[in-house]
Symmetry: C2
Subunit: 588 residues, 2 copies
C-alpha cells in the first residue's frame, strides 16, 4: 500500500503520528520560509508543509512539483498554526520528512476546482479530469449510495435481482432499437433492449414473484437535450398484486431513499391525483407541487359577456401569481411575448392586476364585480397578478401549465432542496396519432385497461377507445416523471385485442411477441410493475436539473463519446465477417 | 394483494388462521372423499384440501383444474392427519372455503419437477417453464445473494460502483467485438465492451480510488461449450496499491461470500503458488487442489538407462495414483487409449504398478532398485499406480495435468461441496504466436511487467521477452479460474514499449488507445485490479460445473436465444436508416 491514511481522515487527535499519504497536488504555496502543498484524493485535502529545517531534497522536490502531480508524502501529523474551519482536516498539517513523485502531470487544460474555468466541450473531451472535480465526485458517490440503498430495500422485501439479456430480439414498436449484427447467424441482428419488459413478464410467468434489476437500457432516438442513448432503469415487477400493492411498495422505496440517502423523512403518504386532475390543475401529467398557483377553468364564468376571444374558446383558464399585481407594462409585455413563443404556443395573454386599483386588458368587457368574481374563482388575493389563457382545451391547459412553471421559477418557488413526490394515475390507455391514423399505446402494449372500461376497449368506435383508461401510474418528483408502470395484461385474449387495436396483424403480433403470448398460455399470474429512470432520480436527489453529471461517461447529443471518440469506423475485414456493406464511405 | 401468505411460510403455529394463498397447481389427488391440491409458488408448496363437507363449487373447481393452473385459494390453516417431515409446510394443510381460477394453463411440454422429463432443447425453448423448476429457482436465488453480498463487502470497503458505458469505441485486440451501427453517425460503429478495462483505468486517473461494477461484458467468439456471448463480471480496480493489497482485499471478498452465502469459514490464508510451480506440480495454471496427486519431474532420474523414449524426451513426469496398483490390463490399456486422445495428446503411457509385486511396462530397462527410486521420487506408496508421460516439456506437463484431473475424477476426489481456492501469480507477460510471428499479451496490454524484469522487457531478444514475468495473478477454485487481474502499467513510456512489443505502430496505438495514453499524461496513480467471472463463480458456489442454469436466459452455442428466436432479420427500412446492406439474403 502506498499510504497509511487517506487525505480526508486525519484530525487533531492524530497529532504526532507518522503517516504516509498519496494523492494529487491541488495547490503549492510559498510563504516566507514555509512551503505548503495541498494534497487531494477522493476523501479530502490535507495540507503538507516543509519549513527551512526540512531536508533539501524535500524542498527541491516541492519546487519541481506542478498541479495534478501524483505524489507520496511521509511526515508527522502536527497541529496547524492557523486553522481552517472550512476543511475537516483543517486543524492539522503534515510536517514533511519525505516526498516522492509517483507520476508527473502536464498542466490540465482547465482548473480542477468546484467551479472550473473549462467550457463544456473541453471538459467533455477530458472527462477523466472533469471527474476529478468535487461536484462530479459527489454526484457519483450519491449515485452509488442510491443504488446500494435501492438494493437494500428491495432485497429486504424479498425481491430478487435477475439479470436479463442484452442481446435480444428486435421488436420494433415504440422507439427505435439499436441493433447488433450476428456473425454466427449471417444476415441476422440482435437488438439492445429498450427495457427488459418482456423478460420481466416472462419471469412472472416463471414464478419469480418479485423481480428487480438496476439495468442499462438503450434507445436509438434523436436526442433531445438531456437524453442519453443508453440510460439506467430500476426495473421492477411483482406478481399477485393490484395497483395499491405496487404504489405502497414503491412509495416505500422512494421514502427509504429519501431517508437513507438524504436524511429526509416523509411521514404522510404521497399525494395521488388522476391524470385528468393533473391536467386540470397543473396542465401537466407531471406536476410540480413545490408551489401552488393551481390552474382554474373559468370558461363558463367569462363567456357571454361580449368578449369574443373568450366566447369562441373551448377553454379559458387562469392562474393567480402571488404578489405580482405591481408588474410594469414592460413586464407584462415581456410575459405576453413569452407565452407566444412556439415552445409555449399561446395566441396571447390576458391579465388582471388584482390590487386595490384593479387593472386589466379586459376592463371594457367585464364590470369590476365580474372581475372580482373571476379573481375569487381563481383564488386570487389582493396583490396577485391573474394570468389567463384561452383556446383549445388540451393545448391551452398545457400552455397554462408551462406558464405556471415559469412563474414558479421566476418567483423562486421551485427550490432544488424541496421535494414533493406524488402519484399520477388513470392515464388514457391509447393515444390517437393523426399522421399514421392509428392508436399507439400511451404506456406500452402490455398495460391493462381498467376493468370498468373493458366494454369501451372492445368497442370499435374511436371515441370509445380514446376514452379507455389504463391501469397505469407514474411517480412524479418536482415536475419530473421519475418512474412509471402499470398492471399488465395477463389474459391472452385481452392482449390479442390490444395488438388488434394497435393495428398489428395476427402474424406481426406473433412474429414480434409470439414467445410472450405463448408463455401466457401456460399459467400467467396477475402481475404489474414499475420502472424508475435512475439517472434522473439521482440528479433530482442531487438537486440538479440535468443528468449529465450523474453519469460517469455520458454521450453528447449526437450520441458521441467525445473523449473516447466513439462511434468510429471499423475495418473492412470485420464488415465482411458480419456480411455487411456500408452505403456510405468513411475514411478510418 | 391476491394473497395473505406465501406457499412457503405457514406452520403448525398458524393453525386456525384464515388465509388466502395464490400460486400454481403442482399436483391434484383424490383419496376417497378427500381432494388434495398442492399449490406452489417461489417460496414453497402448501397442501390444500377439500372434503365432502366442502362447498360444491369448490369441488367442481378442483375437478376442472389442471397442472400449472394459476389459482387463488381461501381457507383455514389446519393440522394435517399425516404429516410430511420433508416439507417445511408439511405439518399443515389449508381446508378450502373458496377457490378461484386466476388463469388456466395448457399442459406444459415437460414436468415442472426437480428432475424434469424434458430434454435440453425443449426446456430451452420453454425457458420460462424450465425456470419454474426448483434447481433453477435455487440457482438464481443464489446468484442474487452472491451479488448482494459482493456489494455489501465492497461498499463496506469504500468501493464505489460506477457504471461505465456499453456503447464504446471498438478496439480490436484480443477477442472480437460485437459492434453496433450508429444511425446518427453514418458508417460508424460502437462496440459493446469486452470488459470495462479502459474505463476503470480512466476512473483511477480520475481519482476514484476504489471502483467496482457487476457488469455485463460481450465477446463475439466461436462459442466453446459453456461459454456465452454475454457474460457478467465483478470488475474491480484500486489505486495506490501493490499486488499484496489486492490479493488481501479480494481474498477477503471470496471469504465473505463463502461465509455469508454458504456458511463456510476459511480461517487460513488461501494458498499461493507461482505460475511455474503450478505448471510443474499440476500441469495447469488453474490447479484443482481438492486432491493431491502432485506431478513430479523425473527426467534426470530416468535418463541414461537405455530407454530411448525417455532419453530423447525433453521432460519426463509422473503422478502416483493412490490405491490403483491393482488395475487390470484392460484398465491400463483403456488409460493408454485415453491419454492418446487428441484432447490430451500424449504419445503413450508408461505405468508402474507399485504393489508388493512391482509390475511395469519398463521392467526391462530399470532395476527394481531404480524403480523403487522412481517411486520414492514421485511420492508413491505401496498400492499406488504410477503413471508416466514424456515429451516436450510444456505440452507434456499439460497432458499429465489433464491425466491427473481425470484420475481425480475417477477416484471421486473432486467433490463439488469441497472448496479449495488459491492464488496463482507471476504469469509470463507475453505469449509468442508462431502463426502470426508476434507476441500477444497473456493477460492484456495494460498489465505491468515485474519491475525486476524491466531490463528484459526493453531487450529485443525474443527469449528475453518470453521470459518477462507479469505482475499478474489469478484466483482459482477447484480447477477453474474464477478471477484474474494485474497491477497496471501507469507509466506512459512503459505502455508505449508494451504496444511496440505487441507490434502496434504508433498510429495504431494512438487510434485505439489514444485517450487512455493521453489521460496518463495528466497524473496517473499506481493502480491495479481484478475481475471475477460472476457466472462461473455462482455455478461453482452452487456445486455445478456448467453456468447455464445460473443465467436466467442463456444463449445456445450458436449464440441464439431459442426461446425468443434471436437474432432475427430486421426490415429493409431499418437497414437503410443505418446505411447498411447485407451481403446475404434472408427472408423475414
Amino acid at each position: 500500500m502506498y499510504r497509511t491514511n487517506t487525505c480526508g481522515e486525519l484530525r487533531l487527535a492524530d497529532a504526532g503520528k507518522k503517516v504516509t499519504l498519496a494523492g494529487w497536488v491541488q495547490r503549492i504555496r510559498k510563504m516566507g520560509s514555509l512551503n505548503f502543498v495541498d494534497l487531494r484524493d477522493r476523501y479530502g485535502i490535507t495540507q503538507l508543509v516543509a519549513d527551512d529545517t526540512a531536508d533539501k531534497t524535500v524542498i527541491d522536490t516541492i519546487n519541481s512539483l506542478g498541479r495534478e502531480y501524483v505524489i507520496q508524502a511521509e511526515g508527522v501529523v502536527s497541529e496547524r498554526q492557523s486553522k481552517n474551519p472550512k476543511m475537516p482536516t483543517g486543524d492539522i498539517e503534515i510536517k514533511l520528512d519525505k516526498i516522492n513523485i509517483l507520476n508527473a502531470a502536464v498542466t490540465p487544460p482547465f482548473t480542477i476546482e468546484d467551479q472550473s474555468d473549462g467550457g463544456d466541450d473541453l471538459r467533455a473531451k477530458y472527462r477523466y479530469l472533469d471527474l476529478r472535480r468535487g461536484p462530479l465526485q459527489r454526484a457519483l458517490a450519491l449515485r452509488h449510495r442510491m443504488a446500494i440503498e435501492t438494493r437494500n430495500y428491495l432485497d429486504g422485501n424479498n425481491f430478487m435481482e435477475i439479470e436479463t439479456p442484452f442481446l435480444i430480439k428486435s421488436t420494433p414498436e415504440g422507439a427505435r432499437d439499436f441493433v447488433v449484427p450476428s456473425r454466427m447467424n449471417p444476415g441476422e441482428f440482435y437488438a439492445l433492449p429498450q427495457s427488459p419488459q418482456t423478460f420481466k413478464q416472462l419471469l412472472m410467468v416463471a414464478g419469480y414473484d418479485r423481480y428487480f434489476q438496476i439495468v442499462r437500457c438503450f434507445r436509438d432516438e434523436d436526442l433531445r437535450a438531456d437524453r442519453q442513448p443508453e440510460f439506467t432503469q430500476i426495473d421492477c415487477e411483482m406478481s399477485f398484486v393490484e395497483r395499491e400493492d405496487i404504489l405502497k411498495m414503491f412509495e416505500g422505496l422512494v421514502k427509504h431513499l429519501f431517508k437513507n440517502v438524504l436524511g429526509k423523512t416523509f411521514d404522510e403518504p404521497f399525494e395521488r391525483i388522476s391524470y385528468d386532475e393533473a391536467m386540470s390543475f397543473y396542465g401537466s401529467d407531471k406536476p410540480d407541487l413545490r408551489f401552488g398557483m393551481q390552474m382554474h377553468e373559468i370558461t363558463s364564468l367569462v363567456q357571454g359577456k361580449g368578449f369574443s376571444v373568450f366566447d369562441s374558446a373551448e377553454y379559458v383558464g387562469a392562474i393567480a401569481v402571488p404578489g405580482c399585481a405591481n408588474y410594469s407594462r414592460k413586464q407584462t409585455d415581456e410575459l405576453t411575448e413569452w407565452v407566444k413563443r412556439p415552445q409555449v404556443g399561446a395566441k396571447g395573454l390576458v391579465f388582471i392586476k388584482f390590487a386595490d386599483e384593479v387593472k386589466s386588458t379586459i376592463d371594457k368587457f367585464y364590470t369590476p364585480e365580474q372581475i372580482a368574481e373571476i379573481a375569487k374563482n381563481v383564488g386570487a388575493e389582493k396583490g396577485d397578478l391573474i394570468l389567463i389563457l384561452c383556446g383549445p382545451k388540451h393545448k391551452t391547459q398545457v400552455a397554462l401549465g408551462t406558464l405556471r412553471l415559469e412563474m414558479g421559477s421566476r418567483l423562486g418557488l421551485r427550490k432544488p432542496e424541496d421535494f414533493k413526490p406524488l402519484w399520477v394515475y388513470d392515464f388514457p390507455l391509447l393515444e390517437w396519432d393523426d399522421e399514421t391514423q392509428r392508436f399507439y399505446a400511451m404506456h406500452h402494449p402490455f398495460t391493462s385497461p381498467k376493468p370498468e372500461d373493458l366494454d369501451k376497449f372492445y368497442s370499435n368506435k374511436q371515441e370509445d377507445l380514446a376514452d379507455v383508461k389504463a391501469n397505469a401510474y407514474d411517480i412524479v418528483l418536482n415536475g419530473n416523471e421519475i418512474g412509471g408502470g402499470s398492471i399488465r395484461i395477463f389474459d391472452r385474449k385481452i392482449q390479442e385485442r390490444m395488438f388488434e387495436i394497435l393495428g398489428f396483424s395476427h402474424e406481426q403480433a406473433e412474429y414480434r411477441f409470439g414467445f410472450l403470448m405463448n408463455a401466457f398460455k401456460f399459467g400467467a399470474p396477475p402481475h404489474g410493475g414499475i420502472a424508475f429512470g435512475f439517472d434522473r432520480l439521482c440528479a433530482l436527489f442531487g438537486g440538479q436539473e440535468t443528468i449529465r453529471d450523474f453519469i460517469a461517461f455520458p454521450k453528447n447529443n449526437m450520441g458521441r463519446d467525445v473523449m473516447a471518440e466513439a462511434p468510429s469506423v471499423i475495418d473492412d475485414a470485420q464488415m465482411e465477417e458480419l456480411f455487411l456493406k456500408s452505403t456510405v464511405k468513411k475514411e478510418q
